[in-house]
Amino acid sequence: MTEVSSGSAPYIYVSTRMRVRKSKLIPREEYLRMLNMGLPELTRLVEEMEYKREIDELAASFSGVDLIENAVSWNLAKEYQRIIALAPGEMKGFTRDYLHKWDIQNILTILRGKQLGLSEGKIKAVLVPAGALDAAALDRMIAESSVERVVETLPIKAIADILSEGLPAALESRSFGDIENELYKYYYATLIKAARGGMKGGLPFLKYVMFEIDIKNIKNLFRVRAQVSKEADTMALWIEGGAFKPEELERLTTVESLDEVVDSLKKKVKVAVLADALEELREKKPVYAIESTLTSAQLGQMDKMSKRNPFSISPLLVYLERKRYEVANLRALARGKESGLSAEILEKYLVM
């Protein structure tokens, strides 16, 4: 999957390019300004940014907020494809592995769409080809006649194997939820394996992946705790490879005291940013606020890692994540304005 290259020149080249791209992302002050804009003003501003080409391309098929949402998603997909293309050697492998989550999302959307008998157009409208499977590959999958054929013709063998194994049960229960969780677990296991492969830049990447797994597990822990009915078995939801064992997380879902949960989590956490974020969770908060706190901690830690390892995979990962949140923020602003959400509410959902 990954190639071996030597020397630090490719890292310096790519890291510098990523830093330049990152500096072009929308700053916090601009978001604060956007919060007070009306929808037409916001649309005009987005059109004047680097999303102009996608807006022009899609203007014939979409309009209004749908146009903004689809344009920023397409821009994200194209940008990720460009980054895969420019990343050299093992960095390309890491990047491709890292962006596999988009493939998982797209494959599952196609399977669900096929199972529900949705038209090709409707399925295509909810895909974001930001991973290894480009738009043409996804189009070929959509054109397949059945769910089974989609799995059989899937170009990513490891994902196809997991799908083949879980498909009969999924078709019987008419739910791809378990397969989806398995695919994401496979995704993180692949990232850890790639990072531990002994290649240059592997260690910071490994640290980051483990950190992301911890963040994901903690977010899901609070989601499960927020559920009214807790009788369901949630063991399958925990991702291995981070600081927490699945049994430990499962136990914490039933612990009443929030302080006890935070203390237990803090015992295992070595990253200061995350420990500080956990401290903020001692008071009862809505799950979205918890997710927002943890996402901010994640991005903060990524920035730190990127500064500590200036010529590694970190600047590239930071840019990928920051770009993803820029797109999410623009989409949130447009959708929020359309739904009439106030600036105060919207601000809570922006990752700045």
Binding site: D66, E69, N70, S73, K101, I104, Q105, L108, T109, R112, G113, L116, L118, A125, V126, V128, S173, R174, S175, F176, G177, D178, I179, E180, N181, L183, Y184, K185, K216, K219, N220, F222, R223, V224, A226, Q227, V228, S229, K230, E231, A232, T234, A236, L237, I239, V287, Y288, I290, E291, A328, R331, A332, R335, G336, S339, G340, L341, I345, L346, Y349
Partner: protein, 215 residues
């Protein structure tokens, strides 16, 4: 009003029985109407509360879907919606309120656990959970509301029907029967008086005849 009744004693007895029956029926129907009205007001109070709750839950569901679209985008929300595997089911039974058959709706698989919603937890965010939960609450409330609204409609129909029957008995059937009874009584009294006069006249005539023969 011309009455089409035979002024006979047997008819009077039968009519008296019918009046008694009508009056008993009238009292029972009146009690049923009052009972139904009381029952209706009980359901109405419940339905009013539920309607407010429904409006609140609808507003919350709208807000949560707006937030989910804000956080995940329509693409994310649509992809998660495609994952919904099991449709909610309703079980329709019936119950009896003072002779009125009203529906009893029981819902199944409306409220789902995180695992049963069909989407993967690892790949989604809490905004999707909250939107799903808000809509599950709304659907449950709609089902409960449908049960109460149908109950109210059926009770109202029955109150209306009972009220019509009570009014018919009070203002038409019973007064007509009483009138017929009075008419028969009057006719019987008249016939009795005629008979008495006839007897008296006959007796007078025969007395006069007897006196003439004696003289």
């Amino acid at each position: 009003m011309a009455l089409n009744v035979k002024p006979t004693r047997s008819e009077l007895i039968a009519l008296k029985k019918r009046i008694k029956l009508s009056e008993r029926g009238y009292k029972l129907l009146k009690m049923k109407r009052d009972g139904l009205i009381l029952e209706f007001f009980k359901v109405l109070a419940e339905a009013k509360d539920l309607k407010n709750e429904l409006a609140e839950k609808y507003a919350r569901a709208q807000e949560m879907i707006a937030i989910a679209e804000t956080v995940e985008g329509t693409i994310g929300v649509k992809a998660a919606a495609m994952a919904a595997s099991e449709n909610p089911e309703i079980d329709l039974k019936s119950k009896n309120i003072m002779g009125v058959v009203v529906p009893k709706i029981e819902s199944k698989s409306v409220k789902k656990s995180l695992n049963d919603r069909g989407y993967g937890v690892i790949g989604t965010s809490a905004a999707i959970d909250e939107a799903a939960e808000a809509f599950e609450d709304l659907v449950e409330c709609i089902i409960l509301s449908a049960e109460l609204e149908t109950t109210m409609k059926r009770l109202l129909d029955e109150i209306e029907g009972t009220k019509r029957r009570v009014n018919a008995l009070e203002f038409k059937v019973i007064p007509e029967q009483v009138e017929a009874r009075n008419f028969i009584k009057m006719r019987l009294d008249e016939m009795e008086r005629e008979e008495l006069t006839r007897l008296k006249r006959t007796k007078g005539k025969s007395a006069a005849k007897e006196a003439a023969e004696t003289a």
